[in-house]
């Protein structure tokens, strides 16, 4: 039994330095996930502010239509299809598969983040905007200094969830033959014909990634709660 495990372990990870498939794959996974999250946050913020400003105050009618189309298309089509279209059609001339993957996931995640952030903005009492404006602050200044910090605080759990989903969703980049963590495990399986060890190891690594991230997010939430309001601001 123990001997069998040792053999399998040797076959899957040690022989021909096969562990490097997982190690390099993990690097790709992290690269794609982190970059996509960061770019997605930017997209999410901009789209959310456009949508919320339009719904509340009638600003940006044209941009709002664009934003709505973007949200409808992205949320209405499967991620895999978006990835393939990005790779084979939109960014055909881009050589780096990592960059293609980053952009495809950022554009996808931006749509979901936008809706989460918009919900956060809508949850803030209108009196907050009025108080900022009454001090002479411009709409944008009030948005950035008063509304968004509170909105983010309120939707942090939902945003964190979206990041977790994105991190795991990157496991489909094998469709454009980019070797990430999942694909790395798959390659080991195809070379060794053993299924248990490669796939379970890959699953365990994803799990540890997500758990680490969740732990970090929990810390951040507690920190924000300790610095004042975790409430939907009402009558403060």
């Amino acid at each position: 039994m123990w001997q069998n495990f040792q053999d399998a372990f040797y076959q899957c990870f040690t022989k021909n330095n096969r562990w490097e498939y997982l190690f390099d794959g993990l690097g790709v996974t992290l690269q794609v996930a982190v970059c996509a999250i960061i770019i997605g946050i930017f997209i999410g913020f901009i789209v959310a502010v456009i949508r919320a400003s339009h719904d509340k105050y009638g600003f940006f009618p044209f941009l709002n239509i664009l934003a709505k189309i973007y949200l409808t298309v992205i949320r209405g089509t499967p991620m895999v299809v978006q990835l393939l279209i990005t790779y084979f059609i939109i960014l055909k001339s881009v050589d780096s598969k990592v960059i293609v993957a980053i952009l495809a996931f950022a554009i996808n995640s931006g749509a979901y983040q936008a809706e989460i952030i918009r919900a956060g903005i809508t949850s803030i009492d209108p009196g907050q905007m009025e108080a900022g404006r009454a001090l002479g602050m411009s709409y944008w200044r009030t948005m950035i200094h008063i509304i968004l910090p509170q909105a983010i605080r309120n939707v942090l759990p939902a945003l964190g969830n979206e990041f977790i989903v994105l991190m795991k969703d990157t496991s489909i980049v094998g469709y454009i033959s980019l070797i990430d963590l999942a694909k790395g495990g798959d390659i080991i399986r195809s070379q060794t014909y053993s299924v248990y060890l490669p796939y379970l190891t890959v699953a365990a690594i994803y799990l540890v990634l997500v758990m680490t991230f969740t732990w970090f997010l929990g810390k951040l939430e507690r920190y924000l709660r300790n610095t004042g309001a975790d409430v939907v601001s009402n009558g403060s």
Partner: protein, 245 residues
Amino acid sequence: MGKVLLKINNLKKNFGKLQVLKGITTEIDEGEVVVVIGPSGGGKSTFLRCLNLLEKPTDGEIWFEGKEIIHTSEAEKNAVRSEMGMVFQHFNLFPHMTILDNITIGPRLVRHANRAEIEKKAMEVLDFVGLVDKANAYPQQLSGGQKQRVAIVRALAMQPKVMLFDEPTSALDPEMVGEVLELMKKLAKQGMTMVVVTHEMGFAKEVGTRVVFMDGGYLAEENSPAEFFGNPKSPRLKDFLAKVL
């Protein structure tokens, strides 16, 4: 009284088909304390919110220090608002900031005030209103009366030319009304120009230099407090006063 600070000319405001202000014309001089009373739905708050353009008037003119302010650029409107302090019924303090930051954010962002300087000033004013030990607390740690006093200090930090009060004591527990009115009295004594929408008749009598009755979208009657309460003219005001006094 001093020179004219605000001149309101035939001010109208519609919300959809509902006309809330049907043509208000009046003047507010420097140093005046104008108390606006009247039944709910009479347009008191809307009138006040039109003064600093939180509501966009449908028609009419507002002159502030000799300049018409309704038909100006967004930037000029922001500048005008920074010259008018506003205190809200529900305080509207920023819950994610300390009391000190609540007070200093306006001067810092709008006036580009030096942080150390403005914080020193804010501490002095907090000391004046007896809240210096709350400087680093957050709004949710304060009582309603304390919140409203901080809100007043926040508005004052911009060194406004006029202070607008929108039912500042209506959301307070009864025992906290006094401390807020006391602070407003002090302000009035220092010569601050004030427009106060309130149901506190005692405050109107004692502190107001002029009392205005708003009803049905019109400025129905205005007079000195003594005349206003002692010798009301219109039957509508007589009726209103009989109910509230």
